[in-house]
């Protein structure tokens, strides 16, 4: 299957491991990812007030460019996914703002792409790789590609906030009891840990404004993961990954409150189970190095 692919700013730089393992996994599963030829940051979060227009321009430019490649745009970062999907809904539901956004994008396009017939009506659907795996590829097919089953590895799935909420607009899975990552982890052979804090927010972008407050949110999640004996945490969001990784490093350095629970992207774990070479996995980018745990687990 062929999908337009939007990596987003963070996957092109600080979360390269997420991007490169996702591309590797997609290739193994015959998913053709066509990266948009030109793209910019989606804006991180969608504006939620009813008259906002400016914050819609970036995500809608991305979606409008995607329509020339496919009617589905796949993305991986929870922030990008949430922003693109919700901005798209505004375009579908609010004719007045749609007109403003389309007019602006038409007028401001670079001369080489300027097209007076430029239109966008919200028809591209925004999908997350987890959805593609569940709904199009099927977890049984994922299971068949596993060459290094992660048998007995206790993994806690961590969803965070933006992959699932608000459920009426996102609709990827149940907002309180999601199962999509659990199903994936089972297909990889893992022992899935029932993680009570899986949909709790890690403190999000407050990390750049009030780091100590965000750190407390992450600390609560980490203590819980450690208490229930998780050996790895799995996420879909570069900010969850960072917040839990950074706070964990500090907790491990300063006190014995927790045992190490390295935080991986789900695609890193997939690539590991599907036999990727170490250089694909990108474990060297982590603050809390997953390699000792991975070696100890015999992987």
């Amino acid at each position: 299957m062929r999908l337009a692919y939007y990596p987003g700013c963070t996957l092109a730089s600080k979360a390269k491991a997420f991007d490169q393992t996702a591309r590797w996994v997609a290739q193994k599963l015959d998913i053709e990812l066509v990266e948009l030829p030109e793209w910019q940051c989606c804006g991180g979060l969608v504006p939620q007030v009813t008259d906002a227009v400016m914050g819609l321009l970036a995500p809608i430019r991305i979606l409008a460019d995607a329509q020339t490649i496919s009617d589905k745009l796949m993305t991986l970062c929870s922030f990008c996914y949430n922003t693109l999907k919700r901005a798209n809904l505004v375009i579908q539901q609010d004719a007045e703002r749609r007109q403003k956004v389309v007019d602006f994008l038409r007028e401001t396009r670079a001369p080489k792409v300027f097209d007076e017939n430029f239109q966008y009506d919200g028809s591209v659907s925004v999908v997350h790789l987890l959805e593609v795996l569940r709904d199009d590829i099927g977890f049984d097919n994922v299971r068949q590609k596993v060459v290094r089953p992660l048998t007995g590895v206790r993994v806690a799935p961590y969803y965070g906030c933006l992959l699932l909420r608000p459920p009426k607009e996102i609709g990827l899975d149940d907002p309180e009891e999601p199962t999509v990552m659990e199903q994936l982890l089972e297909a990889l052979g893992c022992e899935v840990v029932d993680f009570p804090r899986k949909v709790e927010c890690c403190g999000s972008f407050m990390i750049v404004n009030r780091p100590e407050i965000a750190a407390q949110c992450s600390a609560t999640i980490l203590k819980s993961a450690s208490q229930i004996g998780a050996q790895l945490l799995v996420t879909t969001c570069p900010l969850c990954q960072f917040n839990l990784d950074w706070q964990q490093m500090r907790m491990l350095e300063s006190n014995g409150e927790i045992t190490p629970v390295p935080v991986l992207y789900f695609t890193q774990l997939m690539a590991l189970a599907m036999g990727a070479e170490p250089f694909v996995l990108g474990f060297e980018h982590h603050l809390v190095d997953p390699r000792p745990a991975v070696m100890e687990l015999g992987l």
Binding site: A52, G203, M206, V208, L239
Partner: protein, 136 residues
């Protein structure tokens, strides 16, 4: 017999209508169950909890609401919006409160510059998002 007429009209003000309009929410739909506050991950650090913000707005106490740090600590995680039994999207109410202040030039964003080693490491989407929500 005396008729007592209860009305919220007395409390209506331009600013309350603006909050309702920008958020698309009916402030009076909230029946103060507190579920939003129970799940708010940032509630522990805020001077007011989400349900208290809702109550103050219902009572027309916008001065107190605009003086609160709570909307500036809200990270739009949508936990409150997901769980409210009355379907009130408190995350949007918080955003409307921020937006009104930002548009009046009363931006409460003080960029507490985090330690340099943190700035170097933090994913850029965090910085982009913080400016999107806490500045104009």
């Amino acid at each position: 017999m005396t008729t007592v007429r209860l009305s919220s009209r007395r409390l209506s003000s331009e600013i309350l209508s603006e909050i309702e309009e920008l958020s698309g929410q009916n402030l009076y739909a909230c029946y103060q169950c507190g579920k939003c506050s129970a799940g708010c991950p940032l509630g522990f650090a805020a001077d007011l909890l989400p349900h208290q913000i809702m109550r103050l707005l219902q009572l027309g106490m916008t001065k107190e609401v605009f003086a609160s740090q709570a909307p500036w600590l809200c990270v739009a995680c949508m936990t409150c919006a997901t769980r409210c039994p009355k379907g009130v999207d408190v995350a949007k109410v918080m955003e409307a409160i921020r937006t009104i202040q930002l548009r009046e030039g009363r931006g409460a964003l003080q960029v507490f510059l985090p330690p340099a080693e943190l700035v170097a490491e933090v994913p850029q989407l965090a910085t982009v998002s913080a400016f999107r929500k806490l500045s104009l």
